[in-house]
Subunit: 352 residues, 3 copies
Amino acid sequence: MKKTLLALALSGACAGAAHAQSAVQIYGTIDAGVIKRSGDAVSIGKRSANTLGFKGTEDLGNGLKALFHVEVRYESDTGSNEIGSNGTQRPLFQGQSRVGLQGDFGMLRIGRGLTPFHETIGAFEPFHAIPTPGGFYTDLAVAGYSSQALDPVGYSNNRWSNAIWYNSPLVNGFQLNTAIATKENNGGPAIIGRGTAAAPQYPLGAEGSANPFSISATYNNGPAAFMAGYERNAIESKVWSIGASVFATPELKLMATYARQDQDNTRLFNAETRSWVLGANYTMGPGKFLAGYGEKDTDGLDKVKQLSVGYEYSLSKRTYLYLDASRKKGMVPTATNPGTINQYDIGLNHSF
Amino acid sequence: MKKTLLALALSGACAGAAHAQSAVQIYGTIDAGVIKRSGDAVSIGKRSANTLGFKGTEDLGNGLKALFHVEVRYESDTGSNEIGSNGTQRPLFQGQSRVGLQGDFGMLRIGRGLTPFHETIGAFEPFHAIPTPGGFYTDLAVAGYSSQALDPVGYSNNRWSNAIWYNSPLVNGFQLNTAIATKENNGGPAIIGRGTAAAPQYPLGAEGSANPFSISATYNNGPAAFMAGYERNAIESKVWSIGASVFATPELKLMATYARQDQDNTRLFNAETRSWVLGANYTMGPGKFLAGYGEKDTDGLDKVKQLSVGYEYSLSKRTYLYLDASRKKGMVPTATNPGTINQYDIGLNHSF
Amino acid sequence: MKKTLLALALSGACAGAAHAQSAVQIYGTIDAGVIKRSGDAVSIGKRSANTLGFKGTEDLGNGLKALFHVEVRYESDTGSNEIGSNGTQRPLFQGQSRVGLQGDFGMLRIGRGLTPFHETIGAFEPFHAIPTPGGFYTDLAVAGYSSQALDPVGYSNNRWSNAIWYNSPLVNGFQLNTAIATKENNGGPAIIGRGTAAAPQYPLGAEGSANPFSISATYNNGPAAFMAGYERNAIESKVWSIGASVFATPELKLMATYARQDQDNTRLFNAETRSWVLGANYTMGPGKFLAGYGEKDTDGLDKVKQLSVGYEYSLSKRTYLYLDASRKKGMVPTATNPGTINQYDIGLNHSF
């Protein structure tokens, strides 16, 4: 069947058909293992997040590039979209969906993705930024801070929808990463805050009272790296952090973070939180030992303390086996959580 | 591990494994920008639909080909599946999911996709068939007509599930495009129509009273193109349209459409709607100006009028920046819509 | 923009970026046709399941490989995720999501996928293991058995979430396939069983009373193949089966299965079910005839009987047209099902 220009014009549903030069890359990870957690039966689950992403870069000439990422997050044990701790199904491209331009000026992107604060501090956490209680990322390293306050409960705490990112070029080891989001409400519940149940501080569907913004700076000098970050979310909770890592020897990496969260805007009590995490990674042939200890101290609450140790055995650059043990105590006790959790896991992680 | 024929036969879950000659293509678009709309705070969103598609063509010999498309639609600002205006999450392959054969006889496909009427008229709309109020496609160009009447509210109005498409070959510049759908109810609500709330004309779960069908013809002659289309949906709303476009100069494309909808079958009042859109695209180097004006006139309602102007700056064949301003007035006023909308947007569109 | 190691370390959201050697394969099927079923209007739907999968294999050296599959299941007629018979939307990677290692020892995988019992018996069913009433797989071949008892109603009956698979290497034509799952509840409803509505045998959210396990053995000897399988689910329903197939001539394949289900643990009545299916496939040039007859006999219920005949015409190794007629009777009559179903379908199946 001969095709004319009109026929091509009509194929609106086939956009991109003519772009043979397009080379979309598929990438991702799949991680699954056996987990034993205090109070639960043996389960199967993930240690780190599972992704299936599609990305591409187009050279626009003069050092300018267009780039995009759309990134599915999923549960390897059930095959579903990523599920929040309360059972909420997260969006299809929970990982990120961003398009942007990159050039001498740096990189500018728009859409959904990790906030600069969260992306940066994750690199200074000793367990690949995996969630608590295996790792320290989602609770201790960030002082319990949540970037998203007006999203549905169960959505991830370290991402923004409706935002613009700017990453500076790297100059003498320095890099600046920033993002700003709109005040849009993304379907979250009302937040009582300093109001009452009848008159919440942020009623159902309310916009943010401020534009969320996030900023981080990194400095890289030979074996040492440093970071500082600051973020404010849509309900004006604030967090700042500093972190450092150093290769004491080529095999031994040491790292530390300190973070402080201020929830004064919505809390009369328990508004200030301080946390710190110390970590080490030690590489020995194909094996790597991981260890970390951290504390989180919220005004008026018991101190939370966590110790984690792990071992990873690389079968290749893309595939490793892992084994972890962690103990976390001091959380507010609930029906299913007595205040102390021991967790053990063993599994397989594969990148593609 | 040696594999036998039985082992291969057992790998039902791995269908396609042996088809190394298969070359699935990934294609799509990602569009995101900053939008300011009357009555709303600044938001981030899309100008045109975002797609991630997978397609392939197999040569069957003798000029016959098998082909398929499955096409995700998503929101770049939140990473979710495409969301309808009322918050409804649309199906995973909202864009299309079709399989078919193509040969000297034309092209025959089955599944879900744009109706021929909607696909054709979209090519005569000056803003890439983007939704109102930025473009004219979803409201004015089609006289407010909806192809799907028995789908959930919020599903797209220009697609059919459960349909068969036939596109003729192109003969002397002429092409005929047709589709027919089953009467299946796809989970939409009851339609009161000429009935009552207690006895709706189409009760919950009712089948269509007729097989939806859609037909369009196009004629392409040098710089000029013409179209005519007719469609009837499952509740017997009818629409017809004519359109034309011409390259007055190599840089200047002019276009016009006229459409008329008849909803007599389900409406006592406001049953007849007429609309027209005039548009122009002017290319100047990497820049393109877009302009359009249109009116929609429904019996017994205020006339709807819309003016849109835009500018696109191409960074490559696949990537452009855009800037639009539009004004639409005459809609029935609601709490969030005072009857007149001004919209401004600026953003980036990338095809892959 | 120059990238440093730190910048790379920060790109946690881009895992896999550096793995240019990764070659993810896209595979799948799309099947759509026209169906006429007793009591229903003509509809469009699928004959066999539709998949879109992503898979990869990594050579780890010494005969060891890492492998993964994530596999979308979808409806070709509506573009949605696969939908259960009751309208339930199944998980994104309903087909499977598994990661594992393969070597001289066999293959070990973890995640979600078909149970060994279900995967093996499917290869001895004459209609590509398609669902009833077109094929015999989901009801007669397995004696109505469901692998998943604690999943949401409408999820597929032949898969496990939260499981570990081991497939032995093939030794002298023998292969052993096993899987074991955790007792996790996956969000299914309460099961009254031998309890009462007030005190169900398995209350809402209850864990399994036993670890589900599944085992199958296959033996392949020239033109003949044999299987035996056994499985127990989380509520201790048990099933076993035997099956055989033989190429009587190079064109004619004959096959038979027998299965027996025991639901004593949750049923006072109708606890024992026996079923058998006889089938034949006859290849003649590009055409293939399929035929099968089967019965299912549950204690205290009417016998279910099904006869199906079909014809497939291959346009290539990846694409065929099909035409089926089937009759099934003896089901418990319901409002939409009078106890006997005749089904006719004609369509197109394409693998990629």
